[in-house]
Symmetry: C2
Subunit: 609 residues, 2 copies
């Protein structure tokens, strides 16, 4: 057996080092070093954003997609794609600014702007008189008096958890400390010179994105991503809610899993940043209604069945300890308000980050997932209108015969040109299945090339359409060419699943436009957020009627805008206020009771003429 | 073996029944039924306050002390002392108003007045529209809207614990509920027609007194007493603090013990009152600084050693769940502020109940215990001055050779008249030791009768003074007459212990008077609170120089004033405010750094000429 070799990777200019196993990709090495590189495609070699420059050492040979995505000149200067280049020796790498998510992602996330930090937290340095028989004030009184003497105007309060930390902290630091205050409440007491940090989380049904943030500057000190560990208890929101409802233990298990993940990710981020848990004085978690209610251990029985009502829709400030998050003793976690139904705080954060509330254009903002949330902004009106479509998990590869997650070997692009099929797979590995964007592409191309009719029925007279076990199907990859030895097909059932999904989203959009009296062509901008939405081919989406047929330039794919919004809400009082306003003013439209919904759903299942 | 017989006891007019074992005293039966009878003497048959009237059935024969304490006429009408009369059949008993602590104790507790309830809690009845697809507001929003519609002006907030209870409560009660609010915060949501209840506790170093209170009327629905279970980890405050400091587990163990006791007592009170834990929306716990800090799991390392500084001295409102108290989901427990050092919220509550802050007389308020707290009120000045004396546990029977708690067979009164010794024991059982008031009496009488000189030395020339193993001693009870078969003596060491205790209290009083320029004779009233203080013979206390030689009428023994104060603070916003004011305006005087302290201590150890 070959010996496992480890190499040192040094990243400049950030000055981070990490030891990794031979063959690790640069992208993975960067992640291990706590650096998140920009990858609109999720690291599958297709977006060309994760470019790094080899300064010293040896990487795996340049791959075809690198030749395609990097200019000849840059290749000669050592530019490589971090997602494909493997580490074959000790290496030194330069990270161009535009490849780094940290602090730079917002530009890359197309037009999402950076929000000016407007921190909630006042850091007040104090030097206390030590306790003595002549001065027997309690520790809290002493600190309070000193804070008032430093000009703190608010009434100074403290939780009992904070009081518990006080005697040791004051004495260990010789009575010289910095108090972090919010509206007079002492959140933490720390040695002089530390930074107050915040923890921003986008808690998705499938993936968690987490950021450690300097609350004073807004700087992102580290980013991490992880799968939502609840996934083994149900892929979609309803099945997870049902798991929580079925037994009293269910809810506790789901909450426990996700809390453990959030706390672990925070620990990793802090280790990488060389910071301490006690510095983390504020948090913000955005999530859809089901995810946040499960996190909070709220009862979900009434949320799992019609009329699907949450226990609470308002913003909550929960002590971090109540969520089993190990942060500063007085730290709270802010959970922004939901809009209604399953349209949760993640959508609020997305709308905020995309500034839909202040857009001067007629704008649609949408986040495609198992549930798809869509909001419409009409300038001049004082509210947004939001709908939620149960689009199902087909776009995430579920309920599709050869569907899979966006992993190595997944077909992510399909073209049929003059009867010739071209496929692109993630990592250019032999194909083993289809991820969401591949499924979307495949169906769009099959329709465009006439293999499917307007109703989504396979045209059995076409020779490439074969009879499968469950009806007609189209072979994308013969068994002998696939990575699994099994042929990869699109079945009639797969097409129907996509039709259901697009029907739901189409109906949501249509009803939303109709209810607000907005003709589709009046929509000046469509902002597509979220992982899946950022990877799809807009042309394909328009071709199958998922999206309205608007000029391509009106579409904007913005990546994980919810996570950006969570950071804004974390660092800025104004942003937090604005999120409240967005939720308050957003009008939630319950699709299932809108008169045109069923008709539009049925119509949306058809393909455009 | 005789069969154990149980009899039914019926109390009127309260309408309570209880089954008890044959031979149980009426007092004990009343306790089991959740009725606390007035007993200034603690149930030892000497105060005559616990009178009941036998209506039907058979009690044990009338004892000599009953003949002494009940008029001939009343005896004929069936009056008995509950503490002595044993149950020998099914009985029906009438409880005269003045015998019942519940609601009536305040009159009995001499001049402590009842405080008008001024509840913090607004109870608002609402009928909500059920959730429906046409009206998808979250449960909390729906409740909030309904509360505002009912005229609630405050911003309505709720803890996540409250939100957790909401979906089931609303649906189980068909959306018709009463919300209990404090300053807009929803503390509980209950079916219509329930009463909001409160839990008031005087958490003493040795004993816990707890009361269940109707927050709207101030009525005491039940009272309970129990030993503080921490007692097995140290008798006095400092040894308990040291136990908590010695290991990280120590503090958790002590907190766990007392929390369990408080939660158990609440459960008992609720069962007896036929009420539910969810009705208990507010709490108030008063305690000395050490006891409250241990309850709160505050660090006490710095409190256990000079300069003895508490982590916090301010009032705290702690979620009940944080103290492991099972109450309404949003319930908080109020812990009033401390004055300083070991002068805790129990002393604040006592000062409040005795209204020392508004007294028009020069008044001393004191609470004798292991620590003795003394406050002085000078009308016209805007503050109280408070001291704390480490008087030690001698008055509680500790460190005294034959000392014991105030239990059956304890000598509680001693007289020496013309060389003849008269002893009174609790329950008139054969003597087995001395409780606090007995020790005080014994030393006072020994001095008065010339067995002790001014320095507290036994006069060895007196024939009754014998040589014991550790020096001279005086035999109170020869071995053959004692209940234990051992002789009961007062040793030279016992006298010294009492001298130390009285020296500390004397010095505290003297320094307090001197520091405020108050001549002793200017003191117009001395309020003596607490268990020990209520049982002692004031003459004896004056005779040994424990108390200043003022006319007997200036002394007032008020029983457990701290528990009364806790109830006031629980039921009244004004009382809570006033407790804050008392603590804020009380000036804590650290005795050990007062110039005259040591001299006064030494002088206080002498007996008055």
């Amino acid at each position: 057996m070959a010996e496992e070799k480890y190499f040192q990777v040094q990243f400049q200019p950030v000055g981070k080092r990490v030891k990794v196993l031979q063959g690790t990709t640069v992208l993975e090495a960067a992640r291990q070093a706590g650096i998140e590189l920009t990858t609109a495609c999720g690291g599958n070699g297709s977006c060309g954003q994760c470019q790094v420059v080899l300064v010293e050492g040896c990487l795996s040979p340049v791959k075809p997609n690198e030749k395609f995505l990097i200019t000849e000149e840059d290749l000669q200067r050592g530019y490589r794609l971090a997602c494909g280049a493997q580490i074959l020796s000790d290496v030194r790498l330069h990270l161009p600014k535009e490849s780094m998510l940290t602090g730079q992602r917002l530009q890359v996330e197309s037009s999402l702007k950076t929000f000016p930090p407007d921190p909630f937290i006042d850091a007040v340095d104090v030097q206390l008189e030590p306790a003595a028989l002549q001065d027997l004030r309690s520790d809290l009184t002493r600190l309070r008096d000193a804070l008032h003497a430093q000009g703190v105007k608010d009434e100074v309060t403290a939780s009992s958890a904070l009081v518990r930390s006080l005697p040791d902290t004051l004495r260990e630091n010789d009575w010289k400390v910095t108090a972090y205050l919010r509206r007079g409440e002492i959140l933490a007491v720390r040695p002089h010179g530390e930074k107050p940090l915040g923890y921003a989380v986008d808690l998705g049904t499938t993936k968690i994105a987490a950021h450690l943030v300097d609350l004073c500057t807004g700087e992102v000190l580290g980013s991490a991503g992880a799968p939502n560990p609840q996934i083994s208890y149900g892929e979609d929101v309803i099945s997870r809610l049902n798991y929580a409802v079925r037994s009293p233990e269910g809810g506790r298990v789901l909450a426990g899993k996700v809390r453990e993940a959030l706390n672990g990710m925070l620990g990793d981020l802090l280790r990488q940043a060389g910071a301490r848990r006690e510095q983390v004085v504020d948090g913000c978690v955005v999530a859809n209604t089901a995810m946040s209610n499960l996190l909070l251990k709220f009862p979900v029985k009434q949320l799992a069945k019609s009329p699907y009502v949450a226990a609470a829709s308002e913003a909550l400030d929960v002590p971090a300890a109540e969520l089993d998050l190990d942060m500063a003793p007085g730290a709270r976690v802010h959970i922004p308000p939901i809009i209604g139904g399953f349209v949760g705080s993640d959508h609020v954060a997305m709308l905020l980050a995309c500034e839909l509330d202040e857009s001067s254009k007629v704008t649609i903002g949408l986040d495609i997932g198992t549930n798809t949330e869509i909001s419409l902004r009409i300038p001049g009106s004082d509210h947004l209108t939001s709908v939620s479509c149960a689009s199902g998990p087909a776009f995430e590869g579920a309920h599709i015969r050869d569907g899979m997650r966006a992993a190595s070997g997944a077909i992510e692009k399909v073209r049929i040109e003059n009867g010739r099929l071209t496929l692109t797979t993630i990592d250019h590995e032999p194909p083993v299945g289809l991820c969401g964007s591949g499924i979307l592409d495949a169906v769009a191309e099959l329709y465009r090339a006439g293999y499917l009719n307007k109703n989504g029925r396979f045209q059995r007279e076409r020779p490439e359409v074969q009879e499968g076990e469950q009806g007609p199907e189209f072979v994308l990859v013969p068994a002998q060419e696939s990575g699994s030895g099994r042929e990869i097909v699109i079945t009639q059932n797969d097409v129907n699943e996509i039709q259901l999904a697009k029907g739901a989203i189409h109906a949501g959009l249509k009803v939303l436009l109709e209810a607000t009296g907005t003709p589709p062509e009046a929509v000046q901008e469509v902002i597509v957020a979220g992982a899946f939405g950022s990877f799809i081919n807009i042309q394909s989406a328009v071709a199958i009627g998922l999206f309205p047929d608007l000029p391509r330039a009106r579409y904007r794919q913005v990546g994980n805008a919810a996570a950006v919004g969570a950071r804004w809400i974390l660092i800025s009082r104004a942003a937090r206020q604005r999120a409240q306003e967005i939720a308050r003013r957003a009008h939630y439209l319950e699709l299932t009771i809108e008169p045109g919904f069923s008709r539009q759903f049925a119509r949306g299942m058809l393909f455009p003429a």
